[in-house]
Subunit: 396 residues, 2 copies
């Protein structure tokens, strides 16, 4: 079974669970604007003409596409009924909906999750104009709960891909650490990392200008700005945030190194302490992570370890889901802050993959941040790769 | 000047011309859903938090982005004012709009052009909810005319990139023709082409499974289905549709070969005639192409050559625009059919790049199609590469 056949079957189970009669992914020219649900319902290719990919609670799988694209859709082995049209989609789409006679029609619009928000405003207008005068125009609902579950509950094949991306990331990190020297710039280190990603024939997990992020010492801006000309200096931390995309699935891992001063054999006690606090915060979150808990509860657990040790709290969520993209949506291990919407209230589920990434600033040294990726099972959370146990020490 | 600096300046001129006070590209997590306007306003990277990229008729260039992303936006050298926010974008966005006090606010929603339709329905709802109670909620208009002009009017730097992609495509075609042999499958030929694209370090102009399209003989389905196991046979046509993406700009070229039967020195007269009809249709369209004409007039010119020679008319548009994607939107050299909306009525402009691609079916031989790419200038249309002048002949 291909991954998209597997996910389409899973989607129908989710429609039953969520009691949604019909889910329509309504798209056109996906090379121009691509609904993220296409990855699960169609694969990497594109559709040209207005197209409706429809799954129903009763198990129907219907695709309505331009005549020239019926064959490529049939080859997917996902849709039991592939309807081609010539002049326009409206008539056949409305007729098909009439036959299904759904009480709810889920469409891809969502305030909370960009990955459930692939329907453009103009396509929404077109769909509602087609349905005008029928009872169905009033039955549109957001597919967010369906997509959150579909993206969030990884199949064994998806977990395996993520595990492989994480293993590759660990290999690349080993080579990066061997490359670190006093005087090298953040940009030089990033360029070296890009060479390794290329050698593996892979892509980075997020935009390459910021992947890896490399933060050398306390002056380096942490956040969404790329590596700079700052150089690696003795007595400072070098912090990384990095991941690869392998077989369409991502890793997202932070690692930390300390550059020894001449004569130093280990990091100063305050650096070692900061590292241990973050280690403990991660392990506390992992141990607390269980299906059925709201993400904010896990966030609070990790956050309390950092603030309890007297550090200022980090200004972002403890962790996010990971999958086809580094920042996958749905339940978030985040604080109940306005900018996170409802996602910290959503419940952790078995099959979810989360990052755990608390951090703290150590004045004079730099940023202390680690990030591990974990899989939620019925029995709790498992690390998907070996977590960083010790500070990486770089000789001056 | 970078390409996006050049295009932002051009966009302000277009706002003046179209008499639109403010254009807002309102996006979030563009790694998930990417507004195609981002290519021109930001470049290849992504923005994470809700962000507004704003250009005004009076020349202001304002970006409102999440605090962590101000630096990366400042580095673009496009926006004279970069505003970072922490909690939420709504307040600062509304205040900024109030100060501009625009009579029209163009947003990226369009029924006709997917490349002007990057605003999702949920983002549209958010924007209108922010503006509720102000006079501005009623002033939203479609940015389609702005985006059509911005994408359609190529700068010299953009034309140069397209020209280079076309030159590379010609090189790759030469190698493909040398590779063609009786008995090879469409899939083998496509795989060979992919190897060449890879060697050049490029991508294909559209999804790789259908680029090149290879049609061996009359049984091969022409359209949006990929190459098959059909083999190249003597006495048949082999038709290609292929392009590369080089420096983010595309080529889109069709070529035609005939496989000689044992003893044949040239193609049969009916094949040669079909080829000449298509050649003439292309040249008639090119000669007719001038700024200020509606696309449908050019379509009618080429179409009449094919039907005038007694062939059935082709069921698609004679040509489309070409740029960052193979099918760029805006004015279309198309017939006034419902499925093309208003795009055949739109006017050809200087700086546009169009494909010209009429076709006809030759029963028993296969599909006769050629596609050339042309640049519109004040003095008419120029081929951007050498057009195919003779049938490529393959020895049996």
């Amino acid at each position: 079974m291909t991954l998209i056949q597997e996910k389409a079957t899973q989607a129908i189970d989710i429609l039953k669970e969520k009691e949604i009669d019909l889910w329509i992914t309504f798209v056109r020219e996906t090379s121009g604007v691509r609904d993220p649900a296409m990855d699960f319902l169609f694969g990497l290719g594109d559709l040209t003409w207005p197209s409706a990919l429809m799954l129903t609670r009763s198990g129907e799988r219907i695709a309505i596409v331009g005549r020239y694209e019926t064959e490529v859709v049939e080859r997917l082995g996902v849709y039991s009924k592939v309807i081609g049209y010539d002049a326009g989609i409206s008539h056949v789409l409305v007729e098909t909906i009439r036959q299904i006679n759904p009480r709810q029609i889920a469409v891809n619009t969502s305030h909370n999750n960009v990955h459930a928000d692939g329907l453009t405003h103009a396509m929404y207008e077109m769909l509602t104009s087609y349905l005008k005068g029928s009872p169905y125009a009033e039955r549109l609902v957001s597919s967010e709960p369906v997509i959150n579950a579909l993206r969030g509950r990884k199949s064994p094949a998806e977990v395996e891909r993520i595990r492989q991306a994480i293993a590759t990331t660990a290999e690349i990190y080993s080579e990066i650490f061997a490359f670190l020297r006093v005087g090298k710039t953040e940009l030089e280190v990033a360029k070296f990392a890009h060479g390794l990603v290329n050698q593996h024939g892979l892509g980075t997990a997020w935009e390459i200008e910021q992947c890896p992020m490399v933060n050398a010492g306390p002056e380096s801006p942490v956040g969404h700005s790329g590596p700079t000309e700052l150089t690696i200096q003795p007595g400072q931390l070098v912090h990384f945030d990095f991941g690869v995309r392998q077989d369409d699935y991502c890793s997202d891992i932070q690692r930390l190194a300390y550059v020894l001063r001449p004569g130093e054999m280990q990091a100063p006690p305050e650096v070692q302490h900061g590292f241990e606090v973050i280690r403990q915060a991660i392990e506390a979150a992992r141990a607390a992570l269980k299906p059925g808990l709201p993400g904010k509860q896990i966030d609070a657990t990790a956050r309390a370890v950092v603030t309890g040790a007297g550090f200022e709290e980090y200004k972002y969520a403890t962790g996010h889901q990971l999958g086809r993209v580094a920042h996958d949506g749905g339940a978030l291990l985040g604080p109940p802050w306005e900018r996170y919407g409802e996602s910290p209230d959503q419940l952790v589920e078995s099959g979810n993959v989360f990052t755990i990434e608390p951090g703290l600033a150590l004045p004079g040294y730099g940023y202390v941040g680690l990030e591990e990726d974990v899989l939620i099972t019925e029995n709790g959370a498992q690390y998907l790769g070996a977590p960083q146990a010790d500070l990486v020490l770089i000789q001056a």
